[in-house]
């Protein structure tokens, strides 16, 4: 228990000092134009990325310096880079962080440059992600890079043992099946809801044909579609179909069959294949269940952006254009397992020959990005989870919890 309050104060001072210093430095202190391009890649795929860009480096003669930024260090890294004024040239931005980065003024508006780079046009990318769809305050600040979605994972063997022939295709079916599976006994469940998964209730709302943003661009949870989603979310808990402990491990739960159905991303398929190869053929992925309107899922993933005061904007955009080519994105899938965003890559036959990929690709065609509200993870998303989890875990009064959610998120705008 060290003095964290003091640490916070110290950080504030360092930030303040950084400001003072950057005030002097940002005028003339930029790197020379011919220096290497600095690229921030999230996670631990830096080495793979160097391999990916090697052909471009050779062709263009521009060196690329790759910096791997760990996912959970992004906020701190951003804060220091903004405060000191010295960031990378190109950076990967997770869609849930896009708004925060753009609001901080860290990303360069690309609207004027796009005409010179036809490869970056919105129509080259999956629907609902490029151009206007991921614009912040009317400005295009990023180019789609990798995509990620949520699909339904089911243990077909466990389902079959309990008389369920096929994975559920509607939420109603899923709830009934989950109840059947949970009835297998003490400590057995039918479905798993991660307690940190704030997009899930939004996906449920979408599948009922609703949205959490009203026509004026304000966050609005007070809709019949969201209320239906809440019924589903709380109903799964009320049925006893979902584990209530926050330390439940989804991969372990799925492999052991304790939670034989859950919604997750492609990374879970890799985890299962790696840690339980003996289950091959006993599980499958399908598109997410349908609500009263559609089977829409979440479009997650990352975009690429140019740092606001990069001195090598042209070279940066050339690199991004190279990374947007379908061949590059398929190569990236091959070496790093992340799904492409370019339409041509997503329709590539060889790519689609993998049955898992075919499902992901089908789901990506009906997937949406989370609304770009300021600070989803720490703000609206956190409030949403607090409200729902307080009902299902603490037995809080449903109306009171939802009223408090409406009050806290009222007036937050995506514009």
């Amino acid at each position: 228990m060290k003095s964290y309050a003091k640490a916070a104060l110290a950080a504030a001072t360092v930030a303040a000092l950084g400001l003072a210093v950057s005030g002097c430095a940002s005028d003339g202190g930029q790197a020379a134009d011919d220096g290497p391009l600095t690229v921030w890649i999230m996670g631990d795929s830096g080495t793979n990325f160097e391999q990916l860009v090697a052909p471009w480096v050779e062709e263009s003669g521009t060196e690329v310096e790759v910096v791997a930024v760990p996912w959970d260090g992004i906020d701190e890294r951003l804060t220091t880079a903004v405060a000191s004024g010295s960031g990378p040239d190109v950076l990967q931005v997770g869609l849930s962080k896009l708004r925060t980065f753009a609001d901080a003024g860290a990303l360069l508006a690309l609207d004027d440059q796009l005409a010179e780079h036809p490869g970056l046009a919105a129509e080259n990318f999956a629907a609902g992600i490029g151009g206007e769809a991921s614009a912040v305050a009317g400005e295009i600040v990023s180019i789609p890079w990798v995509s990620d979605t949520r699909v339904l994972f089911t243990r077909t063997d466990v389902l079959a043992e309990n008389g369920i022939d096929a994975p559920p295709t509607t939420w109603e079916q899923l709830r009934a099946d989950a109840k059947t599976l949970a009835a297998r006994g003490e400590g057995q469940y039918g479905y798993y809801i991660p307690q940190w998964d704030s997009p899930l209730p939004v996906v449920m709302t979408w599948s009922n044909g609703g949205d959490i943003i009203d026509s004026d661009g304000n966050v609005d949870f007070d809709t019949p579609e969201f209320n239906e989603a809440v019924d589903l979310y709380t109903g799964l808990y009320a049925d006893g179909s979902v584990p209530t402990n926050s330390d439940f491990d989804q991969a372990q739960g799925f492999i052991s069959g304790v939670a034989p159905m859950l919604i997750s991303g492609p990374y879970l398929a890799k985890t299962i294949a790696d840690s339980a190869p003996e289950l091959e053929g006993e599980w499958q992925v399908t598109t997410v269940p349908e609500g009263s309107a559609s089977a829409t899922s979440l479009f997650a993933g990352s975009n690429l952006a140019v740092w606001h005061n990069s001195t090598q904007v042209d070279a940066s955009l050339d690199l991004i254009e190279f990374l947007s080519e379908p061949e590059t994105q398929l190569e990236w899938y091959a070496i790093n397992g992340e799904l492409p965003t370019a339409v041509e890559a997503l329709e590539n036959e060889e790519f689609l020959s993998d049955p898992l990929v075919a499902v992901y690709s089908e789901q990506l065609a009906d997937a949406r990005i989370l609304p770009l509200v300021p600070n989803w993870d720490g703000g609206v998303g956190a409030e949403l989870l607090t409200a729902l989890n307080s009902i299902v875990l603490n037995g809080e009064d449903r109306d009171a919890a939802l009223d408090s959610l409406y009050a806290k998120t009222e007036g937050i705008s995506i514009n």
Partner: protein, 293 residues
């Protein structure tokens, strides 16, 4: 004519400079920032920082999350301070009874938690507490007790997190008490033995009163550290479930570094500083002057 005595100032300067740079200045900056609406766009450009007056403080005192964190912090302090002071004093008194090899080994044993990295501690304890695969629930299952949600139940999680902090916090204080016990003159205990006092009576009436300063020191530092409670809930529960283990420091960290509300977080840190300063000043005031033996 008297010459100006520079020497003491020369000796004091390095420490003073460090204290001003890393202690006083951040405090002043935080105080200044707490009156603004500084956020991340303000970091990028001073022009986006506006004067907010007392707005941050008004918001703080009407924020239910702040009051929850405030209540949690005092809950932790009320459990943790007596537990740490009591446990470390008791262990130190027992360890001081002998100087054999076994007892010396025990001393290092009790000190191990204090020098183990918090990340390793959190990994091990998260496994011990795990609802499905944890050792505790496995042991309970042997005697037919249903699984306990150590870190998922809002009330139990408070105790689970506090217990790890108590386990980790006693080591250093045991060393402080052991050192203080060395300073208890043998003559007093021998005199008491000659008068026929029992061991318990000697401990209660002679040893513990002589340890008064050590007890005071340990109490003050322990209270301060519990008011700044951060590490254990941060690594074990991240303040959850539903804010049940969010201490004031975690609340400030989240507001400042996850929500980028530097002005608001600074206001909170000023409030926390004032609370700690007041409590410490009160303790110093209440402390009775040492009795000379």
């Amino acid at each position: 004519m008297r010459t100006l005595k520079l020497t003491p100032y020369v000796f004091v300067t390095p420490a003073m400079l460090l204290l001003i740079a890393f202690g006083v200045l951040p405090l002043v900056v935080a105080l200044a920032v707490s009156f603004t609406d500084m956020d991340i766009s303000g970091l990028a450009n001073w022009g986006n920082v506006g004067f907010a007056g007392l707005e941050n403080y008004e918001r703080l005192f009407t924020d239910p999350d702040f009051w929850q964190a405030f209540g949690n912090t005092f809950f932790f302090a009320v459990i943790g301070v007596p537990a740490i002071v009591g446990a470390s004093l008791a262990v130190a008194l027992l360890l001081a009874r002998s100087d054999s090899r076994f007892y010396r080994a025990l001393r290092s044993f009790y000190f191990i938690p204090a020098i183990t990295g918090i990340v390793a501690i959190s990994l091990v304890w998260a496994y011990l507490y795990n609802t499905q695969f944890g050792l505790f629930n496995w042991l309970l299952s042997l005697v037919g007790v249903p699984p306990v949600q150590w870190l998922s139940d809002p009330l139990i999680a408070k105790f689970s997190v506090a217990f790890v902090a108590i386990w980790r916090g006693t080591g250093l204080n045991i060393i402080i008490f052991l050192a203080a016990l060395q300073g208890v003159p043998k003559e007093y205990t021998e005199a008491a033995a000659l008068d026929g006092a029992s061991t318990w009576r000697t401990t209660r009436s002679i040893v513990i009163p002589l340890l008064r300063f050590a007890i005071f020191f340990v109490t003050v530092t322990t209270i301060i550290s519990w008011l700044q409670f951060f590490d254990e809930p941060f690594v074990l529960t991240d303040g959850g479930p539903l804010g049940a283990t969010t201490s004031m420091s975690i609340f400030l960290y989240k507001e400042g570094f996850r929500l980028n509300q530097f002005g608001y977080a600074s206001a909170g840190s000023v409030v926390l500083f004032v609370i700690i300063a007041l409590i410490t000043a009160l303790q110093l005031r209440l402390r009775r002057p040492d009795v000379e033996y």
